[in-house]
């Protein structure tokens, strides 16, 4: 098993592109606030993407809600390390409910990049170990890009809940998500098949 300190520091936008390229069955992806969802957006908008614009820490709970509502659809929560720190309890909730269709991807750059790169208070924390401690027994760090691809494949092919943590380098996001919350929500609902409308989407 890859230890946190052995995991290669990877480029967030590259990982988001690799994730999106693997999604062939209208999987839902919930992007946490800031640079996390900016690079998800930059990797190419999909109707099944939801981009948070606030509510820091709620990517996993929102994804859990989607996963419970649609047990046949795979759901990814993509969350930053600072965000997850705000809501660590949600990992215990996910482990207890054990939704088979949920995968959590934690992007750990060790800092609050969007506010100027200040260090998080988790420099000695191991997010995969925290997840395992909460009961997500298969939680692991991705060693490098190939290992990330392998683990994403596992999430898509087998029952979860899954948990992957990756270490990031310090490169900034490519662009920013369009900030229009009701439009994002409306598109996502159509993408989930939860809304039909004669208004062009």
């Amino acid at each position: 098993m890859t230890a946190a300190h052995n995991a290669k520091r990877m480029y967030r936008f590259d990982l988001m592109q690799r994730l999106v390229a693997r999604l062939e069955h209208e999987e839902a992806v919930i992007g946490g606030i800031g640079n996390t969802n900016f690079d998800l957006w930059s990797a190419g908008h999909r109707p099944q993407n939801f981009y948070m614009l606030g509510s820091m820490g709620l990517a996993v709970p929102i994804a859990l809600g989607v996963a419970l509502a649609q047990p046949k659809r795979k759901v990814f929560a993509v969350e930053g390390d600072g965000s997850l720190l705000m809501q660590l309890g949600c990992l215990a909730t996910v482990a207890t409910l054990a939704p088979k269709n949920l995968a959590i991807l934690v992007l750990d750059n060790g800092m609050y990049q969007i506010t100027g790169g200040q260090e998080t208070p988790a420099l000695r924390a191991d997010f995969a170990a925290i997840a395992r401690g909460c009961g997500l027994v298969g939680a692991a760090w991705a060693a490098d890009e190939a290992d990330f691809e392998r683990q994403v494949g596992q999430c898509l092919a087998s029952d979860g809940p899954h948990f992957i943590a990756v270490k990031l380098d310090d490169q900034p996001p490519v662009t920013q998500t369009e900030r229009d919350p009701p439009q994002i929500r409306d598109r996502f609902m159509r993408g989930m098949g939860a809304k039909r409308s004669k208004l062009p989407g």
Partner: protein, 176 residues
Amino acid sequence: MERAWYQIALDVLKANGVSLIPYVPDNVLKPLIAAIHADPYFHAFTVAREEEAVGIVAGAWMAGTKGMVLMQTSGFATLANVLASLPCAFQIPVLLMVSERGTLGEFNQGQAAVWRTMRPTLEALAMEHHVISRLDECEFIMDRTIRQAHLTQLPAALILSPLLTGGKAVTRQVTA
């Protein structure tokens, strides 16, 4: 026989298709929580923090399942940021049912202090909210509030007054 408030709540939730109930427990809500767990129509479970439950209900609604969060007053006080930036900003009908602690016979000064923040917060968020204090108004207020939230795609809070539930009262100061 007259239905108790929690039986009315259960019936109204069902009638409105509200089935997902994440909650942080509260003594006053105990009979409602027990009734919901006993009914296979509902999927009820505890969460570590009320914010989590708001995220879960928001996500579930966007994917076609209706839900409601149960909590007590002190739990509501942890929610201003996520209510403003998730259900209010995205126009998602997250429903909250809040057991009102901190008033009409409260014994815990912490609860009494946090109670004073609830209505100003709901008003500042411009969130629809109604206090239920009478059994004969319970069904109407619950049903119409839930219906309006779903029709307008906006969050709403139902506050259960001790006048309705009996609250959690003690009669004297505990001394050593």
